[in-house]
Symmetry: C2
Subunit: 208 residues, 2 copies
DNA sequence: GTCTATAGGTTGATAGAC
DNA sequence: GTCTATCAACCTATAGAC
């Protein structure tokens, strides 16, 4: 599925890597998202990646090793979040839009992976350890947005009574909830749209 | 563990139920929350419930049937949420406190169950169907709080520019995020406390 | 690095006695 | 309703050849 065909990079000595390792990881992530972690077995991963079962164990030692790699890959894009706020223009509205879209996109990818880690204590602990090491978590997003709001407040563009970080929490929470609802395949009733949430949030912040 | 001792209800025909069914359900829910769905095997459930493995299949037909029962049990308390808002006093602050606490308590119980359902497509679909039937989901909480805010607004106790439902979404989201973070065993950094969030939210709503 | 073959262990589910 | 005993299916992981 994702195996390399002949590419144009300069030849190296020895047998070229066939890309099996990457194909296995990609297959595992795809299976995890589409069919749930219970289906991430060496057999199914190998079949989807187009390699043998033994190859899975050769590259990742055991199932836990494979899943750990899947987690790290799945949580990767979070690191771009803080930068996204910094990169955006000085306009509050622009920042909120960019921030919300980036956060929800990340969550759409990461939530299935995080939910999967809850399926077993060992996995849960492994991911917790990883998130602690890397200092990942919602507090990151809250801090980034909170700092920005504090700066806006200092510039007089946000009401003085506002608590920047507690307020950032409200906004992050709305994005989180929307993303979480999207994970449930059958959500009949709609939540407020992103535009409505952003508009409502801005209206609350605006100085009189 | 939860087996009946002699009770005072009038005698029925035939062999009285020994309480095995309830013990099995309770054991499955406990295992699910504490060790993850992967450990919810007939063997472990039976051991914890103090019954035989065959008994599990007798009462719930198959694994899917047992897990479906666990979901229904785990999502039960949600129905009390809307009532909780209605029951609370007329004071905005009181309502927010009561609402947030009720919602977070519910989520602490329900989130592990919802995450577990993501572990396999079949379970995921089964729970989605159940939630659709029962019209469960975050929109319920948003609607309940939004309606209340709209009433407060009509009474002049909330700023006129506020969009009640989009704003309710912000508040629900903050509770959701706090509860979700609690699910991750190792959250080093703190999020804003419930008091801070409630105070910030009230400050945003207050008329000038 | 990748394969085939297989060991060794769990699991879901059924049969049949009590 | 509950038990013991059992089985086929499936899983992780290793050994050893290429």
């Amino acid at each position: 599925m994702l195996r390399n065909s002949a590419s144009d990079v300069p030849r190296r000595r020895g047998r070229p890597p066939a890309g099996g390792r990457e194909a296995i990881l990609a297959a595992a992530l795809e299976l995890l998202r589409e069919r749930g972690i219970a289906r991430v077995t060496a057999r199914e991963v190998a079949a989807l990646a187009g390699v043998s079962e033994a190859s899975v164990f050769y590259h990742y030692k055991d199932r836990a090793g494979l899943l750990r790699a899947v987690f790290e890959q799945g949580l990767q894009p979070l690191k771009e979040l803080a930068e996204s706020v910094a990169r955006a223009g000085p306009d509050l509205h622009q920042v909120l839009v960019r921030y919300a879209i980036t956060l929800e996109q990340f969550l759409d990818q990461a939530l299935p992976v995080m939910a999967a880690a809850q399926s077993d204590v060992a996995l849960r602990d492994a991911m917790a350890e990883y998130m602690t090491e890397q200092d990942l978590g919602p507090h990151r997003g809250v801090a980034a947005l909170g700092d920005f709001l504090a700066a806006e407040q200092a510039a007089g563009r946000v009401r003085a009574e506002v608590d920047p970080h507690a307020t950032a929490m409200l906004f992050v929470g709305a994005c989180y909830t929307r993303a979480a609802q999207r994970q449930m395949p059958a959500h009949v009733a709609e939540l407020p749209s992103l535009e409505e949430v952003i508009d409502a949030f801005e209206a609350l912040l605006a100085p009189a």
